[in-house]
Amino acid sequence: MLAAAAPAIAADPAAIANGAYLAGAAGCDTCHTDSEHGGQAYAGGRRLQTAYGVLTTPNLTPDPATGIGSWSAADFRRALRWGIAPDDSHYLPTFPFPFYNRLSEHDLADIKAFLESLPAVARPELKGAGSTALLERARAAIAVAATPLPGPWQPDPLHDAIWNRGAYLVAAIGRCGDCHTPRTQIGAADPQRFLAGTSAGPDGKPVPNITPDREHGLGNWSADDIFGVLTDGHTPDFDFVGGAMAEIVKNTSRLTETDRRAIAAYLQSLPPVSRPATK
């Protein structure tokens, strides 16, 4: 007979609030909610078309049987930092754990506190109609093995607090590089071309160069312009971003104004990379 264990320490409202804020900005609910079929937020069930077949997102609510209710803090940390599930299986990088690897211990714990505060939803595990996709899985394993996973992002003392906040958000929450950084031959992110765009992003579609290069990137954009696109998706000529970015804007728009401006300041400070997105 499973009895609900009384929590030893009462959940800290500030931790839950910070966790909710970060989870919203990272868009955890975007993938982990089956919005198409009216699923509960964070209860998983969304079917993602990936190179590995159809993957169904897991339930993040605290249901002990079908969610992550039985996960310890260590389980959660291992999953987010290293992409390893409690049963020692490895997550495919469709779950962008290489980015969550950069979360601070504090933020990681707060996100767990937030998820624990959600109502438990018992959702039967729906197996994805995944293909074996052995070659793609092997490629992913090699790419992940070649990806540095340095752990919590360390502030740079040579830059101010705003820059550091922007850098942290891009590295750990916005996971901008997941789409905007081209890959090397081995499939890992190319550090020489950080955020320089690619002609074949995760959707197979071009992804723009968001370094401050004047010809191929955002060099002609002001900080307000970058702030604008993160706020409601509008570009300087009042186009509105589409494709996969439209979903991301729903998440970045949840950030505070200060945080959106910090990201803009950070992006404007990056080395301009002139590689056009088409190569």
Binding site: D232, G233, H234, V241, V249
Partner: protein, 158 residues
């Protein structure tokens, strides 16, 4: 023999006509795509005028005219997506996804959503409350324009 000759002439004329017809269709398609692009640019301009008012760079009268025009151009959207007009925009950067036509109902639903948000935006602009206008503008951008672009538009490889 006379019938055969008539048939030959008829056939030749049909051939000519269909060549012209195909040419005319191609010209139509180019025109439709141009019209589509200018409609989108017009909508962008109208949203720009509303944002200018929000940023204290433009006046309310222009913003109101723009918001009104936006609700009008929303009605024209299905007209610039007739079947057979897939293909990149004149700048060569974006193209409508095939889903526009294979999921025409969904496309119209996205248009309806955007049109409703344009109506809300107009009401907000007429009300003059900047906070409400900002909220309606963001909703329009993210879930109106962005909602449709997210589902039905793609960047193209050059």
């Amino acid at each position: 023999m006379k019938t055969f000759a008539k048939l030959l002439v008829l056939g030749a004329l049909c051939g000519l006509a269909s060549a012209n017809w195909a040419g005319a269709l191609a010209a139509d398609k180019t025109q439709v795509i141009k019209d589509r692009q200018s409609l989108m640019k017009e909508q962008g301009g109208d949203l720009g005028a509303i944002k200018a008012y929000l940023d204290d760079k433009g006046d309310l009268a222009k913003a109101t005219a723009a918001a009104t025009n936006l609700t009008e151009t929303m009605k024209k959207l299905p007209d610039v997506f007739p079947p057979g007009t897939e293909g990149p925009n004149p700048e060569g950067k974006f193209a409508p996804k095939a889903d526009v036509w294979s999921d025409w109902k969904g496309f119209l639903a996205s248009r309806d959503t955007a049109a409703a948000k344009a109506d809300t935006l107009l009401a907000a602009v007429k009300g003059g409350d900047k906070a409400k206008i900002q909220e309606a503008f963001a909703d329009m951008g993210k879930n109106g324009c962005g909602g449709c672009h997210g589902k039905f538009r793609e960047e193209i490889k050059k």
